[in-house]
Symmetry: C2
Subunit: 304 residues, 2 copies
């Protein structure tokens, strides 16, 4: 039986139609995140996005993950607390009123040590990539606007940490003097930024902290210790370096870090982890997402 | 003999007319930073700002500090390297072509340990507050868009560190999801944010790093562990806490920290340092600036 899988985030919607063997039959991606849905008409947006697939008989079940299940989305699917496994996620699924055979996954929360953390959507590729971890244990890194570092143990998500690396990078480039120092974009491949990228990572090791290191983007430009065309890479790797060093301090020996991300972001973390000599492996984000959604579907009660 | 002192920064111009005893006779402040000068006509802007004072006979000498001496300003006054004392700053003064008896102070630079740092304008209050330091030695903190931490030794500026705390705060509030969580401004005094301010400082002590801690602004709101009206204070003190802890790690025992800033910013650092139990003293920014400019003027060669 076919299934429709939807990763519906704040700014983007990605959807797959898979067959009974779990093979991707069709896919679509559009900039129709929950913030872009006109008038909050999620049922209509859902119909436009996957209506044709759902017209098959028998009607394929639709499973949605991501911010669609948040307070700002269609139906709030409350967070499931960590530690949590696939069965806990499946048990937290919420049916969408008025839309038959459509379900929204809960996000996951962590509370402990005086802190809270939350994720929505990342649980899908995390559980999808579980088979890549020996005995279901290890550390995964999901780079992005809000990067997630996940610590799995025995097939369950034990704890995770969010780092606002991508969003901070964008705000600094677009809305501080640091961006003003960077030349207008030149075609990729025209910049040899490897040295600047490495320098940003090394800067992140120095004492002084991130708020101080950020000013080095200015002084590296001012004293021409980095070329202007390298400053964006320098800032990017400075932030990624801070993220990685802090997570390393938290998690200790991380074994082989599984990096799950879209090609562009995963490539940056690949470069950084390679430079830092940290064992890692890239996992294709689409493969992990589809595998995760299928695994969760398999756990849903037969009634659904 | 009268003198005109001008602190001409990126976004603001502040000027004082002082008498022969060093007393402030008149003052003005306007949002006419070097970025706001129409067509880069600095001589005209100078005339509008302080022309009436300069009409006195004999014509008072004018001394300017700040970004007016940068590459983007009127005449570039090259950086004087640290360690540097008052005499070095005075020796680096640049005359303004076409404007008689007008001088621009150089900025200061630091190079060492694989890093560069620069300041322009802050050298004036730093040297102005020198008399407040026992034997001219100690640590000063100048909070702002770009906070400066200065280490003085025997009356000379030995080293300093810039932290982009104020600019990062503004970019995060105005251009990330964190700002979207904060309610529209309510009149000061209507928010009892003391607990949130303290919580942000304590968060900065935790492991995980700043990029991770920033996300706690969201989760503290989401789990109602801080009131919405306290989230701005929480973010502010989180950043200030990171700045202070990192500088403490660098400088070790800082003795009594001298905080030099405008009332609003100094008050935030006062609260933070008090909460953290760090000895400190507030120094009025205007008093320090005027004292510094007068001391530098006294060092200028008689020919000037």
């Amino acid at each position: 039986m076919n299934a429709v899988l939807i990763d519906w985030g704040t700014t983007n919607l990605r959807a797959w139609l898979v067959d009974s063997e779990g093979r991707i039959v069709d896919r679509r991606a559009e900039p129709m995140g929950i913030r872009q849905v006109p008038g909050g008409e999620f049922a209509a947006a859902f119909g436009r996005a996957v209506g044709p697939w759902r017209a098959c008989a028998p009607r394929p079940v639709a499973i949605m993950s991501g911010m669609i299940g948040s307070r700002q989305g269609s139906v709030e699917a409350p967070y499931v607390p960590c530690p949590a496994g696939l069965a806990d996620v499946a048990a937290g699924v919420t049916a969408v009123p008025g839309v038959p055979d459509a379900f929204i996954l809960p996000g996951l929360s962590f509370a402990g040590g005086g802190r809270h953390d939350v994720l929505r959507g990342e649980e899908v590729p995390i559980f999808g990539a579980l088979a890549d971890l020996p005995e279901g244990s290890g550390v995964m890194c999901l780079p992005g606007t809000h990067s997630k570092w996940a610590h799995l143990q025995g097939g369950r998500l034990r704890e995770f940490h969010t780092c606002m690396t991508g969003e901070v990078f964008a705000a600094l480039v677009d809305h501080t003097i640091l961006g003003a120092l960077m030349p207008a974009p030149v075609p990729a491949g025209r910049i040899d930024d490897a040295a600047s990228f490495a320098a940003g990572l090394e800067r992140a090791r120095d004492p002084g902290g991130l708020l101080h290191h950020l000013f080095s983007v200015r002084t590296e430009g001012l004293f021409a210790t980095q070329p202007e065309t390298g400053l964006k890479s320098y800032l990017s790797s400075l932030l990624i370096g801070h993220e990685i060093f802090e997570m390393q301090r938290l998690y200790g020996d991380m074994g082989t870090i599984r990096v799950i991300g879209d090609a562009g972001q995963a490539a940056l973390y690949d470069r950084a982890l390679t430079h830092l000599g940290l064992a890692h492996e890239l996992i294709d984000a689409e493969r992990a997402a589809v595998a995760g959604l299928l695994r969760i579907r398999a756990r849903l009660a037969p009634a659904t």
